[in-house]
């Protein structure tokens, strides 16, 4: 029996005594989901993570988070094909976040400010890296951070691999490249130039290396036999582009240059030819414009600069001052077929841009290493070959051939080499669930169109190797960073704290996020429904 007065069942007091949390059948749980940008990045960058710091103007912190995965942000912000942006959820709202532009801003800022990275505490282990391309550089950087002593052997006279010998300077200025490589050597990584490794086991033994990462790239130009009369000059794209960097003077091309191929290399070499003063640069491609592997924006820029595209054509002979081409037509299956119909295209130099192959001679000799039918090297999930302690990555293993994939391989190889050196296995943390667009409450994000990077005037473009695209200034870069929706990761908007009808959310203070007060949360789910970025899950209670 209660001893309350008549008709009164409660004690005088506050409702805090009622633990209404007992009504709950589902419970809100904060989580961190995997944003599609992060998921897509071949270098495994935590894009959402570094944008978060850029938003508040803490560019140093943003850069440090970025540098945990990628040692070359200024290059990457220029050369990377930024597939993260195609995956970006904001693309479904208006336009994707210009991730590469912010990355470039951070990379350039770091160069201007001279920000450095420290090597890890020495482990006493030595690793040989073969090739100073993006993959080798990335591996060296990560290994150095893990405390291993790294030496890079590079056959060429300069560092950078295809970032220097392939990608033209109007896309990646060489001072940017030098600055980012300089930061890696400042960590103690040794680079031996003009040092071609011919026998890997021998080189490992000679230098008493405990492990080796080979990333020699794909440099052999694929060729086709085209009958040529003596007067016609036939070159390959990789040599031409390499000649830009290594020769005493730029390669001598004719007045009318014809490029055969449809990839990015074809575009780069045609645009380079224009800049070297060719009056005409014509790209001849067997298939249609839509089927060209070159990226759309590069094709557009080339067209702007006056490069001519000639698709559905094959070159059958090089004549004096002209190329004999056969017209092609698509069959029912959409494949180009010869028509027997010929025409002539004016041209004094033919440049083949038909792709590159791996020079496997160095690797074939290593016991236990297998070469695939397409000339790439066979590696396991951990990038290890059949030879103890030898790992391979980048263009020489089966993968998409991009700078970012190469950088990603470098990081992955470094992790596995580190584990190998310590006699352990790499533990892969379980991936967070995806932060899909459908989970966002996009109403809370205000409209903000993507920032536009400045582009060099056409006239300057066609007469110089100046960089085509400019970077964003600080204000614009920050604007762009703040366009990020922070998919699946709390950005402390206070919505959950504000919308709970039961005051059952505790705010832990700046940077500390929030906590649910289980005593009073009734499990209505409003906090989860109104979280803009979908960071809250409703999990059924056990009953």
């Amino acid at each position: 029996m209660s001893n309350h007065p008549f008709a009164i069942t409660l004690d005088v007091g506050s409702s805090l005594d009622n633990l209404t949390g007992s009504w709950r059948t589902a419970k809100p749980v904060y989580g961190d989901r995997l944003p599609p940008c992060n998921k897509q990045c071949p270098a495994g960058e935590n894009i959402q993570g570094w944008l978060y710091h850029a938003e508040s103007g803490d560019y140093r912190k943003a850069w440090e988070v970025l540098m945990q995965d990628n040692p070359l942000p200024a290059i990457m912000g220029r050369a990377c094909y930024h597939t993260c942006e195609s995956a970006c959820n904001r693309g479904q709202l208006d336009q994707p976040v210009s991730i590469h532009a912010v990355e470039r801003f951070l990379g350039d800022l770091a160069i201007r400010e001279g920000w450095q990275v420290k090597a890890g505490a020495p482990t006493g282990k030595r690793v040989l890296v073969i090739g100073a391309g993006p993959s080798g550089l990335s591996a060296a950087y990560h290994l150095a951070r893990l405390g291993h002593a790294v030496t890079i052997a590079e056959a060429g006279p300069k560092v950078g691999g295809m970032m220097r010998f392939g990608i033209p300077s109007y896309r990646v200025p060489r001072d940017v490249l030098d600055a980012e490589v300089g930061r890696i050597t400042a960590m103690g990584v040794e680079i031996l130039l003009n040092t071609r490794i011919a026998d890997i086991p021998q080189a490992m033994a000679d230098g008493s290396y405990d492990a080796c990462f080979a990333a020699i790239g794909a440099h052999l130009a694929r060729r086709v036999d085209i009958p040529a009369v003596a007067a016609g000059r036939v070159l390959d794209a990789v040599s031409v582009l390499r000649g830009m960097e290594c020769g005493d003077e730029p390669p001598q091309l004719g007045r009318r240059v014809v490029v055969y191929g449809g990839g990015n290399t074809a575009i780069d070499v045609a645009r380079t030819a224009k800049r070297l003063g060719a009056e005409e640069a014509t790209i001849v491609y067997r298939r249609t414009r839509e089927m060209m592997p070159a990226h759309d924006f590069e094709v557009e820029e080339a067209l702007e600069e006056g490069v001519v595209l000639n698709w559905l054509r094959t070159i059958t002979a090089v004549e004096d001052g002209a190329m004999l081409v056969e017209k092609m037509a698509l069959d029912e299956k959409g494949w180009p077929q010869p028509t027997g119909d010929y025409e002539s295209i004016a041209g004094d130099t033919l440049i083949l841009a038909l792709g590159q192959e791996v020079d496997t001679t160095v690797i074939e000799r290593v016991p236990g290493v297998e070469v695939n039918r397409d000339g790439t090297v066979k590696v396991g999930e951990n990038l290890q070959t059949g030879y103890p302690g030898l790992f391979c990555g980048g263009d020489m293993v089966p993968s998409d051939r991009t700078v970012t994939v190469a950088v990603g391989h470098g990081k992955k190889a470094a992790r596995h080499i580190d584990a190998y050196l310590r006699g352990m296995e790499v533990e892969t943390p379980t991936k967070h669930p995806d932060a899909v667009f459908e989970r966002l409450n996009s109403w809370y994000y205000t409209d903000a169109p993507q920032s536009v990077q400045p582009t060099l005037d056409l006239l300057r473009r066609s007469t110089s190797f100046d960089e085509v695209h400019g970077g964003l200034d600080e204000e614009t870069a920050q604007f762009e960073a703040r366009r990020c929706l922070s998919c699946g990761n709390c950005f402390e908007c206070d919505n959950c704290f504000g919308v709970c009808p039961d005051n059952a959310i505790i705010k832990l203070g700046p940077g500390q996020r929030f906590q649910i007060n289980d005593d009073f949360c009734k499990g209505c789910g409003i906090c989860a429904a109104e979280c803009p970025c979908g960071a809250i899950d409703m999990v059924p209670e056990e009953v």
Binding site: C493, D494, D502
Partner: protein, 344 residues
């Protein structure tokens, strides 16, 4: 090359000013609700249903008024859910001086409190009266009109959940046409509540020429708090009408409370506006317009409009859409909002 980005102002675009707060906003532009030091006028342990819009609306309005009044606030409460779920006598959730008398006389009691404060020379103590739509638009309407007509120094807040929820969801004069309630069931010849002429208390309040009248919803906190602030900066009779969805009475999911309040605004059925001395001074344009169906469909009280065999559903939906369209015309709700203008 020169680093010349196009000129843009760096705003908090990630959120604009639409979320409750944001670590990047300067504290002055955040809402009262984003603050750890908000007064939490209704504290935890109250007995409102899961996802109650009224609990939310009342905390929003009273916390904002508390801040505006430097915590010198007295609240008067009509009978109804808000009173019942916060104060099963003698227990209370209120963290503010609070009075309850009857269902119908909150406005009159508040006027009395205001008069008492005047007599005592305590002008810094402000008075807020509150009630549901039943206690406001129907049974307390006479007292409310009197308070307006005398221009008593009271802010009256009506939490409109569109029916008498506390006693089992009976129709009020704020219940929308075709809604099913306990007293307007759906049958062959009775498709829920009637299409009457409606009773629009905000417009009636305006007709009293009082200093301030506004509508707000729990889906737009910045707007709601700004309106409370404006109201509190004025003296005399002021009226705020807040849309507060009720999961129980509307037959909606408890997590949909805020979404429904937002959809009601975005479809045009619940226009947001402010008026001073009988003249409209501001309206809030729709951000992303939706057809009324999108708002009605998640609510079981309108389920009969979406049954394939419903004889009058098509016509009813058209009439509701016409009501929304009329609001859109009347308040010019499709013009661009400031937020959109800036980026256009």
């Amino acid at each position: 090359m020169p680093q010349t980005g196009p000129s843009q102002t760096v705003k908090f675009y990630q959120t604009g000013t639409l979320t409750v707060g944001n670590r990047l906003l300067d504290p002055a532009s955040r809402t009262v609700q984003s603050s750890e030091s908000r007064s939490n006028a209704i504290t935890c342990g109250h007995r409102a249903c899961q996802g109650c819009g009224e609990a939310l609306g009342a905390r929003y309005a009273v916390d904002a008024a508390m801040r505006a009044a430097n915590s010198q606030l007295v609240c008067v409460n009509a009978t109804g859910c808000l009173e019942v779920f916060t104060t099963p006598y003698p227990e209370t959730s209120w963290q503010v001086p609070w009075l309850h008398s009857l269902f119908g006389n909150a406005a009159a009691v508040a006027a009395g409190v205001a008069a008492a404060m005047r007599v005592k020379g305590r002008q810094e103590v402000r008075v807020l009266a509150q009630g549901g739509d039943g206690g406001t638009t129907d049974i307390g309407f006479g007292c409310l009109s009197g308070m307006f007509e005398r221009n008593d120094d009271v802010l009256y807040v009506c939490y409109d959940n569109q029916a008498y929820m506390n006693t089992g969801v009976q129709r009020s004069s704020a219940t929308p046409p075709t809604a099913r309630t306990a007293t307007t069931p759906v049958a062959e010849d009775a498709p829920g509540n009637v299409f009457g002429t409606g009773k629009n208390v905000p417009l009636i309040a305006m007709a009293h020429n009082i200093p301030y009248v506004a509508t707000a919803s729990v889906a737009d906190l910045h707007d709601l708090e700004a309106k409370v602030n404006r109201a509190m900066s004025l003296r005399g009779a002021r009226y705020l009408h807040v849309l507060v969805p009720c999961p129980l009475g509307w037959g909606s999911a408890s997590h949909d409370t805020i979404r429904l309040a937002r959809l009601a605004v975005e479809c045009g059925l619940f226009p947001l506006f402010e008026a001073e001395h009988g003249e409209i001074t501001a309206t809030k344009p729709i951000r992303r317009r939706v057809p009324v169906e999108e708002y009605l469909r998640p609510q079981r009280r309108f389920a009969h409009l979406f049954r394939p065999d419903a004889p009058h559903a098509g016509e009813a939906l058209a009439r509701i859409q016409a009501m929304a369209d009329a609001n859109i015309r009347r308040f010019d709700l499709l013009r661009m909002s400031d937020d959109r203008k800036e980026t256009a």
